[in-house]
Amino acid sequence: MYRLLAAVAASLILIFLVLPLVAVFTSLQWTQVVVNLYDPLVFSAMRLSLVTSIISVAASVLLGTPLAYILARGHFRGKRLVGALVELPMVLPPAVAGVALLLAFGRQGLVGRYLGFGLSFSTLAVILAQVFVAAPLYIRAARGSFTAVDLDLERVSLTLGVPPSRTFYRVTIPLSLPGLFGGMIMTWARAMGEFGATIMFAGNLQGVTRTLPLAIYTAMQSDFSAAMVMSALMIIVSVAVLLLARGVLRHPEWGEGSVAEH
């Protein structure tokens, strides 16, 4: 009896999750796809999304990795507070993030006031919005994978005469790689999909700040078929990212179980 109920519940939610995605593809008129893909509006939105999201991921990795390591290995007062602050943007509604970014980096903002100019309504603003909402995903994943590396491996490396910096590159990084990579993919997906904070802080200027999600929103009001094509595009990208992430995590030398058995 319970088995049957569980099966029904499972099927319902599964259908609910998949159906809208299927709807996008069944509604597509394939002749429209070709026309829309060559539409300069679609093309520029796609290019902007790719460029900004890749830069956002790079910034998250470069700036986030040291912080993640400190949070994983360091002992200092206020560590829990720092850890919580870093994760806060993940649970913040994107619209609130947009307002907050404006108040900080807008022309009249906390920082903007002293800069003499605002960072808002520019491509840089798009990147800032993406980093703000997506970097915590990377930092969290990186922190988790650093923590999972057996401390004794790092200790052994030191006793073998390898200094701390090289121990980090030769032991900690390679062993955390699957987690770091997973974090990067999640961060990238989040950055690609960023909408709320971007539209509030960066605006919706074609070619400058109109990323794919914003372009979809805009197209909804005029050219619905373009919105459909772009949605289909993003679904395909998302599925590809998901498969890639799974593939990396199952890599024979990296996958679970390879990290120190004892």
């Binding site: 200790r155 490396s157 030191l158 200094p163 004892h262």
Partner: protein
């Protein structure tokens, strides 16, 4: 020569150790929580002392401010080889890459690889990943990885305790072989008495963060200097007593809490309170048909219980009204041939040379 003089406290535990270790293998022996592993970590630099000094030959590892120029040599500059209880091999590197990890390309020490592989019988495993090795193999790789850096000091923290009995015995032989080949001053931590006896040139018994006794293994095992050490090294029969007189041939005549004995030993004044003991394997069983009076302390005892330990039997004997007063170890054939069983009477002998005077309470 390694000289250690350190203090370190963690919460309620405090460690205060002062040791000078010559060449050879020094075994740090003690129950868990005695601080023996902490000593290794302090020497390796994985834990920093509160104060004191650690010096290997001319190289100052650590020196606190109060002793001159404060020094904390970073771990990677101490040239120590450290092997943990678990092998801690790098899971993403092959056996060869693991062993060569600490010696950069172009370094002469890389030429030691074939010799170490031969010595530790790792031939054929070079391209395996750590997860494809058995426990004993993995631990040998860890040892090779430490040795190839030609450390000035080898620190082994219960390296064989996670292995099964057979592998453990083999691994000890490998270690002996390697150390005969390349004598490196070694500090070996264990709580295994047999291991200490087999590998140690010296034994340091620790408990509660302090050194209790320090000396060659035979001396520590057969001549413990305190009740605690005696208990830890397996001297199961320990008694209090008072020296009654000194016999003409120089033996101490002791009135014990359970029975009286005569003991060979250093001169002790009459009336002194002493603690003495005998190892179970040193208690002799006297055949009933034996008529010649043996030299030594002969006791009439009742067998309280007989415990089989496989190849040996442990007999618990009673000479007073207590549950039991004396433990002895007998080979299986003796127990079976004599059909020794609880309730039987027997005669045992505690040879004067085997009864050991553990300590004398001065000023009592």
């Amino acid at each position: 020569m390694l000289s250690i003089e350190v203090r370190k406290s963690f919460g309620r535990f405090s460690l205060d150790v002062s040791l000078t270790l010559e060449r050879g293998v020094t075994v740090l022996l003690g129950p868990s929580g005695s601080g023996k592993s902490t000593v290794l970590k302090l020497v390796a630099g994985l834990v920093e002392p509160d104060s004191g000094e650690i010096v290997l030959d001319d190289l100052v590892y650590y020196r606190s401010k109060d002793r001159g120029k404060a020094t904390v040599l970073p771990v990677h500059r101490r040239r120590v080889g450290y092997v943990f209880q678990h092998p801690a091999l790098f899971p993403h590197l092959t056996v060869r890459e693991n062993i060569l990890y600490g010696v950069p390309r172009g370094d002469d020490r890389r030429q030691d690889l074939p010799e170490l592989i031969e010595l530790l019988q790792l031939g054929g495993l070079e391209d395996r990943l750590p997860r494809q090795l058995s426990g004993g193999q993995a631990q040998r790789v860890a040892l090779a990885r430490a040795l190839i850096t030609r450390p000035g000091l080898l620190l082994l923290d219960e390296p064989f305790s996670a292995l099964d009995v057979l592998t453990r015995q083999k691994s000890r032989q490998y270690l002996r072989r390697v150390l005969n080949h390349r004598p490196i001053p070694t500090v070996f931590v264990t709580h295994d008495l047999e291991e200490a006896m087999m590998l140690g040139d010296r034994v340091v018994v620790m408990d509660g963060g302090k050194v209790l006794q320090h000396g060659p293994p035979r001396e520590v095992f057969l001549r413990p200097k305190s009740h605690k050490v005696a208990r830890f090294v397996g001297m199961r029969n320990i008694y209090r007593g008072v020296v009654r007189r000194i016999t003409p041939d120089g033996l101490l005549d002791i009135q014990g809490e359970k029975f009286d004995v005569q003991v060979e030993g250093r001169p002790v004044r009459v009336g002194a309170r002493v603690i003495f003991g005998i190892r179970p394997e040193d208690v002799l069983y006297l055949r009933p048909e034996r008529t010649r009076q043996p030299r030594g302390n002969v006791l009439e005892a009742t067998i309280a219980s007989v415990l089989s330990q496989g190849f040996m039997y442990r007999l618990f004997l009673r000479v007073t009204d207590d549950l039991y007063d004396l433990e002895m170890l007998l080979p299986r054939h003796v127990v079976e041939k004599r059909r020794l069983k609880p309730g039987d009477l027997c005669r045992v002998c505690l040879p004067q040379s085997a009864v050991h005077l553990i300590s004398v309470e001065e000023g009592a």
